[in-house]
Symmetry: D2
Subunit: 337 residues, 4 copies
Amino acid sequence: MASIMGNTIKLSIFGESHGECVGSTLFLQAPGIKIDYDFIKNQMLKRKSNGILTTPRIEDDEVEIISGVFNGYTNGNPITLIVKNKNTHSSDYEKDILRPSSADYTQKVKQMGFEDYRGSGFASARLTAALVGAGGIILPILKEKGIEIESRIISIHGKTGSDMVEEVKKAKEEEDSVGGIIETTIKGLEPGIGEPYFDSLESDIAKAIFSIPAVKGIEFGLGFGFASKKGSEVNDPFEINEGKVRTLSNNSGGIQGGISNGENIVFRTVFKPTPSIGKTQKTVNLEENKNIDYNLHGRHDPCVLLRAGVIIDSLAGFVILDELCTRYGYLYMKGSK
Amino acid sequence: MASIMGNTIKLSIFGESHGECVGSTLFLQAPGIKIDYDFIKNQMLKRKSNGILTTPRIEDDEVEIISGVFNGYTNGNPITLIVKNKNTHSSDYEKDILRPSSADYTQKVKQMGFEDYRGSGFASARLTAALVGAGGIILPILKEKGIEIESRIISIHGKTGSDMVEEVKKAKEEEDSVGGIIETTIKGLEPGIGEPYFDSLESDIAKAIFSIPAVKGIEFGLGFGFASKKGSEVNDPFEINEGKVRTLSNNSGGIQGGISNGENIVFRTVFKPTPSIGKTQKTVNLEENKNIDYNLHGRHDPCVLLRAGVIIDSLAGFVILDELCTRYGYLYMKGSK
Amino acid sequence: MASIMGNTIKLSIFGESHGECVGSTLFLQAPGIKIDYDFIKNQMLKRKSNGILTTPRIEDDEVEIISGVFNGYTNGNPITLIVKNKNTHSSDYEKDILRPSSADYTQKVKQMGFEDYRGSGFASARLTAALVGAGGIILPILKEKGIEIESRIISIHGKTGSDMVEEVKKAKEEEDSVGGIIETTIKGLEPGIGEPYFDSLESDIAKAIFSIPAVKGIEFGLGFGFASKKGSEVNDPFEINEGKVRTLSNNSGGIQGGISNGENIVFRTVFKPTPSIGKTQKTVNLEENKNIDYNLHGRHDPCVLLRAGVIIDSLAGFVILDELCTRYGYLYMKGSK
Amino acid sequence: MASIMGNTIKLSIFGESHGECVGSTLFLQAPGIKIDYDFIKNQMLKRKSNGILTTPRIEDDEVEIISGVFNGYTNGNPITLIVKNKNTHSSDYEKDILRPSSADYTQKVKQMGFEDYRGSGFASARLTAALVGAGGIILPILKEKGIEIESRIISIHGKTGSDMVEEVKKAKEEEDSVGGIIETTIKGLEPGIGEPYFDSLESDIAKAIFSIPAVKGIEFGLGFGFASKKGSEVNDPFEINEGKVRTLSNNSGGIQGGISNGENIVFRTVFKPTPSIGKTQKTVNLEENKNIDYNLHGRHDPCVLLRAGVIIDSLAGFVILDELCTRYGYLYMKGSK
């Protein structure tokens, strides 16, 4: 609860889409980690809208680190970073009209009418800017250890390859949106990381990834493909290869019994189409207490996947680093590989 | 980490498949909850093997509550329950032969050769007996509040309906195993439960469910089906119905922005085929440091799904109760609806 | 670990004494709590130096709430507040000279030379400004429930009453410092709050209070006075008084078995004399690796107690609110008494 | 909350004084730690009553480890241990008569009449048997690292030395009880362990120690003695001694800024006289709703200090190990010094 994640290291999040800023605090504890500001900037660019295939809300997303870094290195204290909100059109939002399949209704009930309704408030994907900022600190630590995380879009609206761009363009023209799937690979993670209960690698990665708005499913390795298979077809046989225990296939997605086996961790995340679309939809005007036909006039992504890979990388990176630090301590981050 | 789950209430797990017992501690805090021993017994029966379609290891799984209950009611102290292991054939397990796709290798690396290798030790599905026992206390509390959880198998080895039984029989004859999908529905949960970050309902349910051995994917509502859809097709329109805000469809699976919307929570879990099969497989004998062909002679389920629904119910129930208690306090459990 | 405190609600802290700001995040979750900005300002004034009996570093400590508040009310999201550092004289601090009994040495070892050494960095009492800011939100919530917390200095340098002011003046003239004791009373807390293990009211209050720099001891009720007493002298007899169970004395300080008994919670906190004094002291110059005689030229309090009461109130308030929310849920905050 | 303590490693507690057993679970995670059963047995003897100066309830306190240990070594899974209750005289306890200064009333309110009222139930010092059992696993791990913890009684009923025994005898004869002070020293802890906020060494030790029944105060180093001192008198000067930074005095009790400085950690704990005494006391009979004079006939310690040192050692050991594991990981436990 309480918008904090992690075990040995922690990550918290705060801010609202149309408030003063979004931000996060990274409780790494480890001193002596060099901050690569260019890398952070570059990560933010990956998440930033280019305004063409993505939302016309283009933020100049500068990450400001306001604590925990001294002379370019972490000092071991909590690292709070903020990203200011500048380009907000709050008048685009109508307090009492519920956008279908958005968090408008659920947030209103939960927060009892006190919610910041502008642009989904705390439930907005805008908040993920603060997570990507945190990822900009985490991912280089992992890279130093030989661990790399890569996400790529594998399908949009059921199409693959270059067709995917066409699907997004079409959705944009139609003022509609489309869903799709991102595949993520974590390379270089040693075997033995994770636990059967309740912090299985799958558990902790899933928990983190389901925090990303619009995610509705996750599968590891063969995933839902296992449902129509026999054990004899999909078990991953072991062999000794250059003195190491390896598997001949990787249907397990690198995880067995909740613990890494030294192969690539592979998982796929499905995103629903952005709920905010321009097309006419049936919904409710709460103030007038009546059913209405509604046309949304805001600035929205026709397809969130284009900006989501870097968010997945950031959160998966946090989970992996946390599990490693539980085993080796937070000073692990500082040690040579 | 550390095999503890939950926020306001907690659940821990302990024990090994071939050790003295498996157990769990439920830190409910609430006094005055009547324990329904018959219900617990019945839940255990749902998980128990009948020895026909499931493993020949038939345990007389009696739950012993050794703390936290006084005169038939919870007193508010931690509730520890144990299920003794009786029918163990530890000689079936060979320490240095890695069963493909099991936790044998990963647990050995993690635990550095000190693992209890007998029957997967801590990573065994045997441990879930202790979770079902805890569920036997949790689920009646939810039922009192009008919340019911039901899981049903919707496909096995790609087949549905009565064909599923045939698939399991065939797998058993072939000394093979088969995967499948279970669908779970949570009815009666009020809107407003869950959070966008990081304890979204999807996050916490997924974290819990991925603790169940053999689970490799989870999806909510339309799930992976969203990948080929447009927003205009799958958004759930709102309407006012008898004074309540309802949705006309439930592609969201009852969750929007990580928060319940008052509709049924619906999710599907995929189980891989049990890794332990009798068929010859390639693997490694670590002691002799060589690749071998291996025939496993143990007692195993050809299909874990037959016993898994009650485990999902138990863990999902824990998550729902935890989220409700964060909002309303642990005394919520005791109050009238 | 990780500079986060609390169970159902949480409080985190960040910032450095001579960095950009100090700050905290209050994870209350409850929507609809009115923010009383005047009260917060007033609390900050209680902690602020007046420059006469306290440090000449006078900060215009304005609390900026950058998230979690919308239209003057909490919305239920994390509340981050910052207090900017303005009047910093960083040149007063020498990196390699260890001020005796300060955190200079321990922080340097822990943070391996990457510490922000200016003005004790993260270990500075400056950080408590952010805690008092958080207290400014918490204490009015408790007051609405009839719970009030008051701290008063009961002795300084072994003296009581108006002699205490003289002791501070004398210490200031001598460029020395003095210790003392603060007594805190929590009125209006209902019985039944707290737990025997491990979140006894004493445990959680003590944990919070020992976070305040210079605190070296805490005692509840008769405290160390119990050491020379018999049970028959100090047991608190019960009686029924106007239909309520009350005690005839309050040697227990309102807590029995770790749980509140409905009487006033009473505890005393001892503060050591501020370690930073102007008098010549023996210490170490690490750069030159030699023992030196050292005269500190900085701006320091001769007696921290003058500003500490409001910090105790804030942290004790957080603990009480957290325990109440665990029992009654975070919505308790919003409900009428 | 929820009777769980710790950050990287965890400790939970369960059971009731007159229930089936008391127990604890130690979530160490580290494999390969040899269990020294003789040491555990010896620790239990230190806590056990000899029936002469202590309670006539003499339990044959055998620790049974029911999970987490395989072939004499930890396997890394949760370690649950239980101590069965055998010698219980439950008829000694009257449900509706509140023993003054005990947890009878507060537990009854908290648990709303569902409490196990027999012998203080969960609030009984009987529960500490399970903590001492856990300490029996923890303390040898620290000893391997050169860290030793020793507690000794320094005063009873205001007397020191051999007079203390007389005071206990006299109290026993008078069917009364006496309080006192225990001093604890932790030797061999490296500098740099602990944090300013909120897991200061003082915070975490205090939180743990206040879980012990009858503890009403704790002080570190000079403690309450600081209240009448000047900084120039009590600051601990640094010097370089054989290449190490050391202090010339240890008024700080080995902790500065919440972090260890490499000197001995020294703290004192005050215990109130046992509330249960034979002398006539005023109290309340709740059933009859009237004030009464009451003579307790049970079996009680005239002075809890005789058995309390080993409990302090166990809990302090847990805290120290937890802080070390956060910095170095749980595998630290297994490594050579």
